[in-house]
Symmetry: C2
Subunit: 201 residues, 2 copies
């Protein structure tokens, strides 16, 4: 495409490097920004620069934070003896939104995926083993996606932790709330049956 | 949502103000930027700031440009006596991509749309009349979208220009290349028949 302005071309080029943003979407976003107040565009730009400069990873659980220790790890009321292992920051936010979990987290930063060239050493698994070996942790909850990669990663972590005096559990797999039984796939339904629990009122 | 970092929250908030970008997409984009080199994020931010500060509108045709006169208006080989009226910058780029047009443009900056509160005074129609009144223009080509708003704007411009010694034409409406006749809507097909031209080889 021929852009009428080199500044426009450069901005569109930079925007279209974002995932899922093509040339046309980038142009639409950039032309939108041109119609905004200068201050608003500078706020956006500044927030990205400050984010990249200022954001840190928690020394303990590798969650994103603004200081050395994330808000969850530094809250005294959180149960430090229960560690929930998740793939990424979005998963922490999803679990926090349930308001059902009072333990702490361990963010792996991905899952083992030979297809994408992600091995155990690319993740924070060593740091998890180190955390468990220091004692004080009674349960590790594996909360990864129920996929082949998730299962592989679960198994790898299990092997690394099995000799420590820590209970290793995995989040329940079964039929989702409001799903219809007849449309549920057989693997999910089989696991839901196998993983049945005593009925309580 | 509870964000683990205020810097993250601010960046997601700013990103999600862009059109078509919701909270989840904004979070995905921002987390992507966090994984990039600091220099790359600063390049993106800088390009947006410089765009907003530096981009100008052509004094003659209101196209985007880097100086007082856009590249098209300042090219001596372009035919200054033919002016193509378009809604926005993307339309200029689309027509330029055809490599069929050697005249110049006039960018309205929108079309008349009472529903969206856009009236003639919000557009650059006065500036077009001024351009035509100064002479030297023999044809004005109306190239707006074939919608109700486009038709209204065409008519408004026609009324404003009809007393000047200038030919006013409108781009052809007919069936699009590779469209199937049987699936073409009746308005388009009717106009294609009414607007038939002598067959030439």
């Amino acid at each position: 495409m021929n852009y009428p302005s080199t500044l426009l071309q450069r901005a569109v080029g930079e925007m279209s490097r974002l995932p899922g943003i093509g040339q046309k979407t980038a142009l639409r976003l950039v032309l939108h920004l041109l119609r905004q107040e200068r201050g608003e565009v500078e706020n956006l730009a500044q927030s990205l620069i400050e984010l990249r400069r200022g954001v840190r990873y928690c020394n303990v659980c590798h969650n994103l934070c603004d200081s050395e220790l994330c808000e969850i790890c530094s809250t005294p009321s959180r149960d430090k003896s229960t560690v929930c292992v998740v793939e990424n920051v979005q998963d922490v936010m999803a679990i926090e939104n349930t308001q059902q979990y009072t333990g702490v987290y361990h963010v792996l930063g991905g899952i083992i995926s030979p297809m994408e060239g992600i091995g155990p050493s690319d993740l924070t698994i060593e740091s998890l083993v180190e955390r468990v070996s220091q004692g004080g942790i009674s349960e590790v909850i594996l909360a990864l996606s129920p996929t082949m990669e998730g299962d592989t990663t679960n198994f790898y972590i299990y092997r690394k932790l099995q000799d420590f005096p820590v209970q290793i559990s995995v989040i329940a797999r079964g039929i989702a709330q409001n799903d219809e039984l007849q449309y549920t796939d057989e693997v999910t339904l089989g696991r839901a049956l196998a993983g049945r629990i005593p009925f309580k009122v």
